[in-house]
């Protein structure tokens, strides 16, 4: 137990803490990482996506979301909704079937796993005998037909997963019947030879397709991979008719009226077959190879859909000419003489077509094509001319270009919001106007209480503005900074201009584009003033742009200034990248945020901190060399300060040389591991006479009964055990002023406070460095009427050196009432009380290791909290948040929300620096998750759980954004609509969570090697930043929580 908590144990405070703080992971935004399966329920109008890590996510109308996690982390291979029910079956790649259902509890639906099942064959059968290839949920709602690799079709009864062995449709029986049904001679002899041959070589192979007759539930279609398709009568257990194709079968589509079957094949062709009872072995009506005549790739899935107008839609995946377009991920749509091959930037996982839901309707009348690609979901409107894409309200691909930073702004004024939305709507004109077609379920979540913006900076130089107010993270507007610079590729070229007579008729769709023209364009810091509409963004090559919101298109030139941060430091050579070249002359900017000032730091190192004061019209920026202040009103540099330590050579080298050293260090660590493995192997025969660590190893290898709660600790221990193979050493040394990157500017802060004497307050700029130094500059900003005439002046007033020399990650000034100073213009807009300028101000400096409060203007130490000394954790993110009480409407407190390098989130009280609560949030190995975390002003936060997904969490009892939704099937319609409270299922969900939460701590021995490397956080960070592309291997699926209601009274702290 930590000692510091013990001292202030006050029951009243404990109660209040329960009213203020509560930790919940509420919702995952973005696109699921590594999707592997798609399912859709026509009746529920709900889409399901399964992932390789065993998650299944359901999406309906905006706000209707569910998440379930299989206990196994196996990939979800198939998802099938049971017809007309709130149930679905998933097939995992370990050949297990899982039944899930949406159950209404206390007014909201919850996704639950009801049971699981693995198909067992007769004893001694080959594993492939029961390897499931196709699943057909029968419309009787209680039977599952399972096609297997052996060619047998097994029947399983739901919900108990009881195998009905007498109903199994064995491939032998089918073959026998097919043979016996041969008319015996005549013209069909040539065709009927094949099955005989087939039987010899067991070429029935696996079942590729299983379909129920659209009108007659007693008939199913079974397609075998070698090309035989039979229609099986379930009642009479006999083959009604069969079709034989000379090509390998890929998939089959049964037309709505049941009269025609369309099969697609591995050679890129598809065939139509007539179905009629009197001709048991019909010839194809039509056979076609859409992208022939040269060899084509397989058509893996096909839809043949009828319309009222008469002309059908043919939609199929693949089939492209092998040689020239074999590498494309295409889905072709053919209708009424039009043909388009939609070309996706990532692999197509699966697709489906949304059609008329009523099974009795005469036509399919497809309305939308839903394509799940590896990196995004694309929906195409099939009713509008030109088949435009539909903008999804959720499942946004956050990682269209890799996310490099994020910034959250709470409570956006309506005016600014509308202007941003308006600017964005002009960018979305290419989208269809169709209503989002997947609209199942009802969202019961209350309307978001305020408008929140999440801004993400991307590697390609864009900033995306997301509506983060509610459950659905929706793209509002995209800002590109590329236009300001001269890059190799002209931005206008990137539009895919396609010639008229191009064949195949490819059309690029989707927004996922992981390729960046120039890594220097990457956005590193964002600062938006929500009152003035000023935006500052800063990037990888030392570029700082100040932008202003303009509702009109405009053409103007951008003022350029160079900020020489090295000043008169001699003898330094920057070995990194060159600065970006600004485009000379006026540039045309579309409506939205338009840059008007460009400051380029010299050397062009990545901008590491940024602050904007819209009232004083000042922008401050810092790099690893120093920091500067720029007056964007007069477009004049106020000052620059070099923070570089003369001995710090590393800071002068660019990122390139650091990559080299990273490679070297990686190589070394691999060598070390290898070496130590070899040596331990050599030593083994000598017996356990080694040193301390070595000696114990054999004892551990023997299995030992688990004892009580130690069971949970075992995997971790095992991990530590195997790590002895590669003992990682850590050097213990005090930080010195000569360490590298001490000059790195970590934080910048504007404050109107008592910097020099207690009688006069003045504007000030504070900067904190990696070496534990805080600089304070007194600023003189001319009054508004002379703002353009007199220069802004700055003078260094203070310099504080923290003796522990840990990086300064946060600076904050508290007013006389211990309230953090308001944001600029906040008071002017009557949104905040003006700060108390009577009492003494206090300065809070947060380093990675300590929180310290100093008095102002005379700097004397008042309070501190030594976090690292006590817990061994370091501060990664800190932000002031207002925590409202869930009991008293108007009661709230300002505290610090803190994220540590161990992935814990904590609340530290202001001004007394008492730790309040602590929750474990992110796995400590998930460095990119920890690095991506942003806090909101009201105690929520976001972090990346994969390159494409943000997890949203809340520390507050009051501000909680999570899905609450209801899905009615026909049967559950009778359920009464719920009221709000929903206490009991909270507890239920907890139990589910606790079952799985422990695997957060768990480390499987197999991952030790990875762990050993991951442990070296610095190395990992380097890898992350350099090999941005595949950083997603540590998806955090710990949060199993499904749609959960919350009751405001249920504010138990964990």
């Amino acid at each position: 137990m930590r000692r510091f908590l013990r001292s202030g144990h006050d029951p009243a405070r404990e109660r209040l803490k329960r009213d203020l703080f509560q930790f919940n992971k509420t919702v995952e935004h973005g696109f699921p990482h590594q999707p592997s399966a798609l399912g859709y329920s026509q009746s529920l109008r709900i889409l399901a996506i399964g992932t390789r890590s065993g998650a299944v996510k359901l999406y309906g109308a905006p706000g209707v979301e569910f998440m379930g996690l299989h206990r196994e982390t196996n990939a979800v291979v198939q998802i099938h909704f049971l017809p007309g029910q709130c149930q679905l079956v998933t097939l995992l790649d370990d050949n297990s079937l899982h039944l899930w259902s949406l159950k209404v509890k206390g007014g909201v639906s919850e996704l639950q796993e009801d049971g699981s099942f693995t198909l067992r064959g007769p004893p001694g059968a080959a594993p492939s005998a029961t390897q499931i290839t196709v699943v057909l949920p029968h419309s009787s709602r209680e039977l599952l037909y399972l096609g297997t690799e052996s060619g047998n079709v097994f029947v399983v009864q739901l919900p108990a997963f009881r195998t009905l062995e007498d109903r199994t449709i064995s491939s032998d029986a089918v073959l026998q019947q097919v043979e016996s049904s041969q008319p015996g001679g005549g013209q069909s002899r040539a065709v009927c030879r094949l099955p005989e041959e087939a039987r010899q070589r067991r070429v029935f192979e696996m079942v590729e397709a299983l379909q129920e007759h659209p009108r007659n539930p007693d008939q199913v279609l079974i397609g075998y991979s070698r090309g035989l398709i039979v229609i099986w009568d379930l009642r009479a257990s006999r083959v009604l008719c069969h079709f034989l194709s000379s090509q390998q079968l890929e998939s089959v589509c049964w037309q709505r009226d049941g009269h025609v079957i369309v099969s697609c094949h591995s050679d890129g062709s598809y065939c139509q077959w007539p179905v009629s009872g009197d001709a048991p072995q019909p010839e194809p009506l039509r056979s076609c190879m859409p992208y022939g005549p040269f060899p084509c790739k397989a058509i893996t899935k096909i839809f043949w859909l009828t319309t009222k107008q008469g002309l059908p839609f043919t939609i199929f995946q693949g089939g492209m000419p092998r040689a020239s377009y074999g590498d494309r991920h295409c889905i072709s749509v053919i209708h009424d003489g039009q043909q388009t091959a939609f070309d996706f930037t990532s692999r197509v996982i699966d697709f489906t077509v949304l059609t008329e839901a009523d099974p009795a309707a005469a036509f399919d009348d497809p309305c939308a094509l839903v394509v799940l690609a590896e990196e995004e979901l694309v929906v195409i409107d099939l009713q509008a001319a030109g088949w435009p894409p539909v903008q999804p309200p959720y499942l946004a691909s956050l990682h269209c270009s890799a996310i490099t930073c994020s910034h959250h702004v709470s409570n956006i004024p309506l005016k600014l919001w509308e202007r941003i939305v308006a600017a964005g709507s002009q960018q979305h004109t290419h989208f269809s106007t169709m209503e989002w077609p997947i609209d199942g379920g009802t969202s019961l979540a209350p309307a978001p209480p305020q408008r929140d913006l999440l801004l993400t900076g991307h590697e390609d130089g864009t900033v995306r503005f997301w509506d983060a107010s509610g459950v659905c993270l929706r793209l509002l507007y995209k800002l590109s900074t590329v236009r300001v610079f001269l890059t190799d590729t002209d931005p206008s070229d990137s539009l895919n201009v396609q010639g008229e007579d191009e064949w195949p008729p490819l059309r690029k769709v989707g927004s996922f584009d992981p390729y960046s023209d120039d890594p220097r364009l990457g956005i590193q810091k964002i600062f938006l003033c929500k009152y003035s509409g000023y935006l500052a963004v800063a990037g990888t090559a030392g570029q700082v742009l100040v932008l202003e919101l303009n509702d009109e298109e405009a053409e103007h030139s951008v003022a350029q200034v160079e900020a020489d941060l090295l000043q008169d430091q001699e003898g330094y050579r920057w070995k990194g990248h060159e600065r970006l070249c600004a485009r000379p002359g006026p540039v045309r900017f579309e409506p939205g945020f338009q840059p008007f000032v460009l400051v380029q730091c010299q050397p062009p190192a990545v901008v590491t901190s940024l602050a904007l004061h819209s009232e004083w019209r000042l922008v401050a920026f810092g790099t690893s060399h120093g920091f500067g202040l720029f007056d964007h009103q007069q477009r004049r540099q106020v000052f620059v300060k070099c923070t570089l330590h003369p001995s710090d050579q590393l800071a002068l080298e660019g990122p390139l040389s650091r990559v080299k050293s990273l490679k070297k260090s990686l190589r070394q660590s691999f060598r070390r591991i290898r070496r130590s493995r070899v040596s331990s192997r050599k030593r083994r025969p000598a017996g356990p006479s080694g040193e301390n660590g070595e000696a114990g190893a054999p004892a551990q290898a023997r299995p030992r009964p688990l004892q009580g709660q130690e069971g949970a600790a075992r995997p971790e221990r095992a991990g530590v055990q195997s790590m002895e193979l590669a003992p990682v050493q850590r050097r213990i040394e005090a930080r010195s002023a000569e360490d590298s990157f001490t000059g790195f500017v970590r934080t910048l802060y504007f404050a109107d406070t008592y910097l020099r004497d207690s009688s006069r307050h003045c504007p000030s700029l504070w900067a904190g460095t990696n070496g534990g130094t805080v600089y304070a500059f007194a600023l003189r900003v001319p009054p508004a009427e002379r703002r353009m005439d007199e220069p802004v002046r700055a003078e260094q007033a203070k310099e504080i050196q923290l003796m522990h020399r840990a990086p300064v990650v946060g600076i904050l000034v508290l007013d006389g009432h211990n309230v953090p100073l308001p944001e600029p213009l906040e008071v002017a807009h009557d949104l905040s009380k003006s700060p108390d300028m009577q009492g003494g101000h206090q300065l809070l400096v947060v380093s990675e290791e300590q929180f310290k409060v100093f008095t102002l203007p005379k700097v004397s130490a008042k309070l501190k909290l030594k976090l690292t000394a006590l817990e061994g954790s370091r501060v990664r993110r800190v932000s002031v948040a207002h925590f409202g009480s869930c009991r008293a409407e108007d009661y709230g407190e300002h505290h610090l929300a803190v994220l540590t390098n161990l992935g814990d989130v904590q609340v530290v009280s202001l001004p007394l620096l008492k730790p309040q609560v602590r929750y474990s949030c992110i796995r400590r190995e998930d460095v990119s998750g920890i690095a991506s975390c942003v806090f909101t002003k009201y105690g929520q936060g976001f972090y990346l759980i994969s390159p494409s997904e943000f997890e949203r969490f809340s520390l507050s009892t009051k501000w909680l954004v999570e899905p609450r939704c209801l899905v009615d099937s026909a049967e559950t319609k009778s359920h009464s609509r719920p009221r709000n409270g929903s206490g009991p299922e909270k507890a239920l969900d907890r139990t589910r969570n606790s079952g799985s939460q422990s695997d957060g701590e768990e480390r499987r021995p197999g991952r030790v090697m990875e762990h050993a490397l991951l442990n070296d956080e610095r190395v990992l960070k380097e890898i992350q930043s350099t090999l941005e592309g595949d950083r997603g291997s540590y998806g955090d699926w710990r949060s199993q929580r499904v749609a959960v209601g919350y009751s405001l009274s249920n504010g138990g702290a964990e």
């Binding site: 301390n692 114990g696 130690e710 221990r717 850590r730 213990i732 005090a734 050196q801 003796m803 442990n1015």
Partner: protein
């Protein structure tokens, strides 16, 4: 170092002892009762008296058995000088204002003669600049063993003092595993171990830490359950005043509490200690160790100054009960036999007076070594 010293460590000899004292060119001879040498103050007065320099501030030195010139300026080194003098105690007196500090020290036997000639001929030009060894009252500890009485005998709590950046702490830690006795029997648990000592580093020079010592606590916080990185961060965060509790890999030099020497004043009663251990507070809260409070502020481009504390802190470092043994070899006339033998430490601890507010921080019971 103001505690009462045990007498007569070398008091096997009897009778009087001859003293030969030199000040400038003058010699005085007198004798002392070897068994009752008295206090340093008295001896200092006696020297001033015999040399007839009552109001002159002087430095007193003596030649020890190795011929090194060592200072006498407190009871401890005075008694040491008396007890080791055989047969004659040779005293050298210098005026403080013209003192040649460099003459003091142990240097080498080769320099021995020079040392004496330097004193004899103060105007002798030195060829090489000597390391200036300040007077013992200016000495500061670089390491110490503390809380010996409240720790299990198998543990050692070491305090490393890091002043400025002159000397690196100089050690590395690693993951490992150790075996504990728990209610469920023997259990292997992950642990943190010292993996390497940097030659010339503070850790090595103390002789109190060694490779494969298991780290149990860092500044009063147990490390069990913490990762290597966490412990690294904790140590670095405390690097200016690092207190490490270790279970030495070599258990042969442990403090043996029961075989204490007798006769010292203010001796703690170890038997009762075990009883009172449980209910009292730990001897040092991390909040107490504010030696890193010396953040510096530079106001208006003025001179750097230390940041004062806004609220006076009544607790200070000195209030901690501890034994501070200086192991910088040979300084202060207190010569440890070598780095391995810690017998003086052991006996010294037993003479310690302990405030009641000491506590055993170890809760994990018996610990066995393989």
């Amino acid at each position: 170092m103001n505690r009462s010293h045990r007498h007569g460590a070398g008091s096997g000899c009897l009778g009087t002892m001859e003293v030969k004292s030199k000040f400038g060119a003058e010699f005085r001879r007198f004798s002392l009762e070897r068994s009752k040498p008295g206090k340093f103050e008295e001896f200092y007065g006696l020297l001033q008296h015999v040399h007839k320099i009552p109001n002159v501030d002087v430095l007193v030195g003596y030649a020890d058995i190795h011929g090194d010139l060592l200072p006498i300026n407190n009871d401890d080194n005075y008694h040491k000088a008396v007890s080791t003098a055989n047969p004659l105690l040779r005293i050298f007196i210098q005026k403080k204002e013209e003192a040649d500090y460099s003459a003091f020290g142990t240097d080498t036997l080769i320099k021995k003669k020079n040392v004496l000639t330097n004193v004899l001929r103060p105007d002798n030009h030195r060829k090489k600049p000597h390391i200036v060894i300040s007077m013992p009252q200016d000495f500061r500890p670089v390491s110490s063993i503390i809380d010996v009485d409240i720790l299990p005998e198998t543990h050692r709590r070491v305090r490393l003092y890091k002043y400025g950046t002159e000397k690196p702490l100089g050690f590395y830690i690693r993951d490992g595993s150790s075996v504990r006795v728990t209610p469920h029997g023997l259990e292997k648990v992950p642990g943190i171990f010292i993996s390497r000592l940097v030659p010339g580093g503070l850790a090595q020079s103390t002789g109190l830490l060694a490779v494969n010592d298991e780290v149990l606590e860092v500044n009063g916080i147990e490390v069990s359950g913490k990762s290597l990185d966490q412990v690294t961060d904790m140590m670095i965060a405390n690097s200016r005043n690092l207190i490490i509790t270790v279970r030495p890999a070599n258990q042969r030099n442990n403090v043996v509490r029961n075989s204490r020497t007798s006769g010292s004043s203010g001796q703690s009663t170890d038997n009762s200690l075990l009883g009172c251990v449980q209910q009292v507070e730990p001897s040092f809260e991390p909040e107490d160790e504010d030696s890193d409070e010396d953040d510096i502020v530079i106001e208006d481009n003025g001179m750097p100054q230390q940041i004062p504390k806004a609220v006076p802190n009544t607790e200070s470092l000195e209030s901690l009960t501890q034994i501070e043994l200086n192991f910088e070899s040979g300084q202060n006339g207190f010569i440890p036999s070598n780095e391995v033998s810690l017998a003086p430490v052991a006996s010294g601890t037993n003479t310690e007076t302990h405030a009641p507010d000491q506590k055993l921080l170890e809760e994990d019971g018996t610990i066995i070594t393989l």
